[in-house]
């Protein structure tokens, strides 16, 4: 498979026929979604919480520069070093610079989509620094040499059997498909890495402006270890992750776990404030990299900036009928699914991600489930308009819409065209839409249009 957005349709056709993949996806998704309904229905004020979260995010994004400055000021006061990276190259080079400074050889990473976004692991490995994913799902996709297929459940596309086979091949262990045993194998392997790592890298779920804190939620304890055992911790995160107050977390904690993994609450929360010298449970140095990488492109658009409210829960992917069928890899982008189809064009440019905003029936399920109420499906429409404005549509499509427009603009022409098409039909000439017709019969014109019948009745 060719993992680039321009191959979406080809990839989708293959994925649709991949029985195994579809089985794995269906199983994982239906399980999470049905549990989600349960844990969401426990909160009668769910809609209020969504609204609240939306408003906090909206306020923050409207005043993003202010809150980023505030965060930087407070975090710096706590002894954390802040670096603002314009793009992935700046971010990666900064990490490498720190790694070189401390002579890092082994880096443990906890789950972070932003590091996937900039290709950090590959970059560090190319530069001779062994980099190990410590989140179980990420560990699996790293072993398999794949990309995550979902932003909170990276190995969702794999079955237990496939994971068992992978472990026995790559780690030389006896085959097992029992989740507990598989987890233990990974744990055993990773324990050793944790203890010897000199650099820990994480993402962040939230940055708290008023306190300068980094907040990480997780389920496996690996983020806690990655950020405390190594002497240096680098957190890399998008600029949109900042929120004003610590108390805002009360809203986000209620919606995030439920939306991401159908949990009432994640197992662990780390709130990291400052480095401490000579303490066993804290790194000596903490860095935060605030990554832009196309995010300010979104900020420029009054409508698209909503996409920056995203808390990366992944629920819109699970509920999306397109994602459910083709899985995350098909999109060829780091962030797949509905919100990915908004974020990816901002990162790669719309030309390279042109198909993605069109790869949706606009059913609106993504908006319905989104815990911060992003109108994702409307943003996709906005991007479609941008694509046409920039002249990216095919000449044939442009021609069709030009003709269509001329006809629709003038009801007399519309009436004549309607007669003309029926005349053609009588001659046996039918419009053919090849792409429609493989699995569907193309609908036919009625012998008489409503307008014609109406007119005849009147006279």
């Amino acid at each position: 498979m060719n993992y680039i957005p321009s191959k979406f349709r080809n990839n989708a056709v293959k994925a649709l026929l991949n029985v195994n993949l579809r089985k794995n996806l269906t199983r994982a998704i239906s399980h999470t979604l049905s549990k989600r309904v349960e844990v969401v229905s426990e909160l009668p004020d769910w809609e209020n919480l969504r609204q609240k979260a939306h408003e906090i995010k909206k306020h923050t994004i409207e005043n993003l520069a202010y809150y980023l400055d505030l965060f930087e000021e407070r975090a710096t006061k706590n002894g954390v070093k802040i670096f603002r990276a314009k793009d992935s190259i700046e971010a990666k080079n900064y990490v490498l610079q720190i790694a070189r400074k401390i002579n890092a050889r082994l880096c443990v990473k906890s789950k972070s989509m932003v590091t996937e976004e900039i290709g950090l692991r590959e970059f560090l490995e190319e530069n001779g620094i062994e980099t190990v994913e410590t989140d179980l799902g990420e560990f699996i996709v790293q072993l398999a040499g794949e990309m995550p297929s979902h932003i909170t459940a990276p190995a969702m596309h794999k079955s237990r059997d496939e994971i068992g086979k992978l472990f026995s091949e790559k780690l030389g262990v006896k085959f097992t498909n029992e989740p507990e045993k598989l987890t233990n194998i990974a744990r055993e392997f990773l324990r050793h890495k944790f203890l010897n790592a000199d650099l820990g890298i994480s993402g962040a779920n939230f940055l708290i402006a008023e306190t300068g804190s980094i907040v990480i939620v997780e389920n496996e304890g690996n983020a806690g270890l990655s950020t405390t055992i190594p002497k240096v911790h680098i957190a890399i995160t998008g600029i949109e992750k900042v929120i004003p107050r610590l108390s805002d977390l009360t809203v986000f904690f209620k919606i995030l776990g439920r939306s991401a993994t159908a949990q009432r609450f994640t197992s662990y929360v780390s709130i990291i404030n400052s480095p401490k010298k000579n303490k066993p449970d804290s790194p000596e140095e903490i860095y935060v990299i605030l990554l832009d990488n196309g995010r300010t492109n979104l900020l420029k658009s009054e409508r698209l900036k909503q996409a920056l409210y995203c808390i990366k829960c992944g629920a819109c992917m699970l509920t999306c009928p397109v994602y459910q069928r083709v899985g995350g890899h098909t999109y060829g982008s780091i962030y797949p699914g509905p919100i990915g189809s908004v974020l990816t064009p901002a990162q790669l440019g719309l030309r390279d991600a042109l198909l993605l905003p069109f790869a949706s029936s606009l059913c609106g399920k993504c908006f319905e489930i989104c815990p911060v109420k992003i109108e994702i499906h409307h943003l996709l429409l906005q991007l479609r308009a941008q694509a046409v404005d920039l002249g990216f549509a095919s000449w044939l499509e442009k021609l069709i819409f030009k003709l269509w427009f001329i006809v629709m603009r003038n009801y007399k022409l519309y009436t004549s065209a309607s007669k003309f098409l029926r005349y053609l039909l009588k001659l046996g000439i039918k419009p053919k839409v090849k792409s429609w017709s493989k699995e569907r019969i193309f609908p036919e014109l009625a012998p008489k249009s409503f307008k014609e019948i109406w007119r005849n009745q009147k006279t």
Partner: protein, 234 residues
């Protein structure tokens, strides 16, 4: 009270019987309506595909044609959501609250404005109702069609599994991504078949078109019927 009847272009061209059924219902209740003959398309296909300049001109024309009515009623949740929800996204210079408020999908109009919960129709069949995405998620229409259907004499309404799942049409999506679109139709069709109902109905003929064209190609025994056709069976 004067009603402007909007018959979407694809109903006009492909399914005139749906328009006629709507007329029959309006007449039965003595509703004072007019069908402005100059109407064509609300602009949705262009809007949906990204041709907003063209859509905007059609939208302005539409508003002009329907400006003198108290309500605009249409047997399509999708086209009504174009007017109500999407016109304000392309026409930024005018206040569209008025046109937004007065545009209503047929069943919503009957139940909410006319306070009608039964059209007096009879339909001696089992029927399952498919929620069109636009009617459901853009306009919030869920109970109105079901109330009217339940009150049709002899009709038995059977809920299918996942009535709110998309049929896969999506306009331009069904042409650009026919494989995914057809696969979505396949699932929908299975839910319908499993319900055991003889007919599937909806507020939106475009969904029914997708369902029907998949079912016919695959020789599946599914009968589609627009809700206006059931409600006008008196």
């Amino acid at each position: 009270m004067k009603i402007g009847l909007f018959i979407p272009c694809y109903i006009d061209q492909l399914y005139p019987e749906v328009g006629l059924a709507t007329v029959k219902i309006l007449k039965r209740f003595g509703i004072n309506f007019e069908y402005p003959i100059e109407q064509t398309c609300c602009g949705q296909p262009a809007f949906n595909t990204g041709y907003w300049k063209e859509a905007k001109i059609l939208a302005e024309k539409f508003i002009q044609i329907f400006s003198n009515f108290d309500y605009i009623v249409s047997p399509s949740g999708s086209c009504v959501s174009m007017i109500k929800i999407f016109y304000p996204k392309i026409i930024l210079t005018e206040d569209l609250q008025d046109i937004s408020k007065k545009s209503l999908e047929l069943t919503e109009f009957l139940v909410k404005v006319m306070n009608i919960d039964s059209t007096g129709a009879e339909f001696d069949h089992t029927v399952t109702y498919h929620d069109s995405c636009h009617a459901l998620r853009e306009l919030g229409i869920k109970t109105e069609p079901r109330i009217l259907l339940r009150n049709v004499k002899k009709l038995k309404l059977i809920e299918m599994e996942n009535p709110e799942d998309c049929c896969g049409f999506g306009g331009t999506f069904s042409v650009k991504f026919p494989e995914i679109s057809s696969d979505m139709a396949k699932y929908k069709v299975n839910y319908i078949l499993n319900s055991g109902a003889e007919f599937v109905t909806s507020t939106d003929q475009s969904c029914l078109m997708q369902i029907d064209s998949y079912a016919r190609k695959n020789n599946l025994n599914i009968k589609t019927i627009h809700i206006a056709q059931i409600l006008s069976n008196f």
